[in-house]
């Protein structure tokens, strides 16, 4: 893997670089172009919102950024490393070390406690239990849930559950936080709290890329990328 090392320098100010990324699906006999030659660079420490109508390719783009999916064509450099040709195990490793996911429906393990949910990535990183529960406590404190460590997700409000999910996404100290409609299941007051929390994290240096279809949520981001039919419509500002 000599190549990524060279590119590390070129792309040093960028957390993630997409070069002519395409993603095609076969549905029946037809080829669907979910993403069509998308090129964009996400600077380190930036806060992006990806907007667009449903079917515009937002989720596909986020899945690609999160290494849950591989592009049909094009290159994806994450912290200088080309991840577009990696196999499943390598992608898992990238997700484990460099990606933090926040989902619309929180995606917490319902039978596990808050502490266990937050510490889940650390388990796969092989942390010892004492250290990871210490870290889980710190993260819970950071999202204001230090009193709820032994609760189950179902005993928490939607906003609290999303805070748990954010704490979990931070556990591996990721390069990028990816948020897929993080406020989609929350009322507007709670949405604002969650967005403030994300803004704080961004101010502390985290790169955040967020998919949303709400303009007022997108307003929390410093940059907005509009997708239309799998292509970049425009970028603001």
């Amino acid at each position: 893997m000599a190549e990524p090392a060279v590119q590390e320098k070129q792309a040093s100010s960028h957390e993630a670089v997409l070069e002519k990324i395409s993603r095609f699906y076969r549905m029946g006999g037809n080829e669907v172009r979910a993403l069509d030659e998308v090129s964009v660079s996400f600077a380190r420490g930036s806060f992006w919102a990806i907007l667009g109508a449903s079917g515009s390719g937002k989720s596909t783009l986020l899945n690609l950024l999160g290494c849950l999916d591989r592009p049909s064509a094009g290159r994806y450099l994450l912290r200088g490393a080309d991840v577009s040709q990696m196999d499943d195990d390598q992608l898992s490793e990238i997700r484990l070390r460099s990606i933090g996911f926040i989902f619309q429906s929180f995606n917490l393990l319902p039978q596990s406690t808050v502490a266990e949910n937050i510490a889940l990535p650390l388990y796969y990183q092989g942390w010892d239990p004492a250290r990871s529960s210490q870290r889980a406590r710190e993260l819970a404190t950071r999202v204001g849930l230090q009193e709820r460590l032994d609760h189950r997700p179902m005993e928490l409000s939607g906003g609290q559950q999303q805070r748990v999910a954010i704490a979990r996404a931070l556990a591996n100290d990721p390069a990028i936080l990816l948020a897929d409609e993080p406020t989609g299941n929350l009322d507007s007051a709670t949405s604002r709290e969650i967005m403030q929390l994300l803004s704080e994290l961004n101010e502390q240096g985290k790169t955040i890329i967020m998919v949303t279809h709400e303009e007022d949520i997108a307003a929390f981001a410093s940059r907005r990328l509009y997708l239309k039919d799998g292509r970049i419509d425009r970028i603001e500002p």
Partner: protein
């Protein structure tokens, strides 16, 4: 040290996860518990029934399965001793001496066939008592003049129950009638029981002391005298499978002590074969039943495992999104199944021990739990549990994480 502690942690996490899904774990385990339990119980009942079927002839038709017979003429008192002492698998030897004497009971005089033997005879052939008692060791020791009539002999002598205590004159000697036993019914065919048309039993020692070992035979008008110590020795062997080997062992031994082959050995081979066939039938039937129930148990386990994986697709998606590799997912499921299968298997063993015990207690049926059935059912169920638990896990791990996350 690192690896075991990590393994332990994985097992602990597996147990945690199982405890978090109590109902599902319980249902999965149920299949295993009853799979193992029913196989053990069924094998125990079958083994018990098979044993009973094989033991039955011992009780009712006495010498059918585990006896060898050796007859006739020229056997010595020493031969019995030698057989009894040389072969540990011989449980009992019964010497038999046949005599003909004129007997008189009250006004009836009759030519009687007598059998001189030991109390072992009555244990061996299990002739039920009609009245009085059988021969006792004391009769032999004291050379007592006691006689036990057979039903057949009693009928010929017109003896009744109140004849017990009366004197029966045999060849000029006076004997006291002490009991009447049922005669050979003839249903134990093929076993050359030597007491058909025997009128009475007397102690062997008494027979020897009073009448000697010289037999006088009348044939075609001429008299011949012959020295015969014992007419027959019956040897009881402890297990059916030993009979043939023991018989040839005895044969070798007799050959050494008898210059002339004035004896013959007979083994109830037909009965042995029948016993073996019965056992084989039992084994086939039991094997099929056990196999079918294990299969059913396995299908049950697979069902619940597949359902569980489907139910947990989203969990798998979450874990994959967070960075779990495919093999880590498989491993997690494998550990859970193994914990589950082991626990279920152990509970199944407990139930498999309990059910036969209850059957014996309530229905009075004999049951035999063999350690082989424990190992077999636990082993196969574990294998079935792991294989059927692993397959859905592999399938789940292969899912596209995006698809898995979308799963409701």
């Amino acid at each position: 040290m690192l690896i075991p502690s990590r393994k332990l942690r994985e097992i602990r996490l597996g147990i945690n996860s199982l405890l978090q899904h109590k109902l599902r774990s319980f249902l999965t385990m149920l299949g295993m518990v009853f799979g193992v339990g029913s196989v053990i119980a069924m094998l125990a009942v079958g083994e018990g029934a098979s044993k009973e079927a094989l033991d039955q002839p011992l009780e009712e038709e006495s010498q059918q399965t585990t006896r060898t017979f050796m007859s006739i003429y020229g056997l010595l008192y020493e031969d019995e001793l030698r057989i009894a002492q040389s072969f540990p698998q011989v449980l009992r030897t019964v010497p038999v001496k046949i005599l003909r004497k004129v007997g008189r009971l009250g006004e009836h005089t009759m030519d009687l066939r007598l059998l001189g033997t030991t109390p072992g005879w009555f244990q061996l052939v299990r002739r039920p008592l009609i009245a009085g008692r059988a021969l006792l060791p004391a009769d032999l020791k004291n050379l007592a003049n006691t006689v036990v009539l057979t039903e057949y002999g009693a009928r010929r002598l017109l003896a009744r129950e109140n004849s017990i205590g009366q004197q029966l004159t045999l060849g000029g000697e006076s004997f006291q009638v002490v009991g009447i036993v049922r005669s050979e019914t003839g249903q134990g065919e093929g076993l050359q029981s030597p007491d058909q048309q025997i009128d009475a039993y007397i102690p062997l020692t008494t027979a020897r002391a009073r009448f000697g070992d010289i037999a006088v035979q009348f044939s075609a008008g001429s008299r011949s005298r012959e020295l015969i110590e014992l007419h027959q020795i019956i040897a009881e062997v402890d297990s059916t499978s030993q009979v043939t080997a023991t018989a040839s062992g005895i044969e070798v031994m007799l050959r050494r002590f008898h210059k002339k082959k004035d004896y013959s050995i007979s083994v109830p081979l037909a009965l042995l074969r029948q016993a073996e066939a019965t056992k084989r039938t039992f084994n086939v039937v039991l094997g099929s039943i056990a196999g079918i129930s294990l299969l059913v148990g396995g299908i049950g386990i697979m069902n619940i495992m597949l359902a569980s994986v489907t139910e947990r697709t989203r969990e798998i998606g979450i874990r994959r999104a967070i960075g779990a590799k495919r093999r880590q997912i498989i491993r997690q499921f494998l550990i859970e199944t193994m914990v589950l299968s082991t626990t279920g298997g152990l509970i199944g063993i407990a139930i498999g021990l309990l059910i036969p015990w209850l059957i014996t207690l309530v229905a009075g049926m004999p049951t035999v739990v063999t350690s082989l059935s424990l190992l077999l059912s636990l082993g196969i169920s574990l294998a079935v549990g792991i294989i059927f638990g692993l397959y859905p896990a592999v399938r789940a791990a292969k899912l596209d994480p995006i698809e898995a996350l979308r799963h409701e």
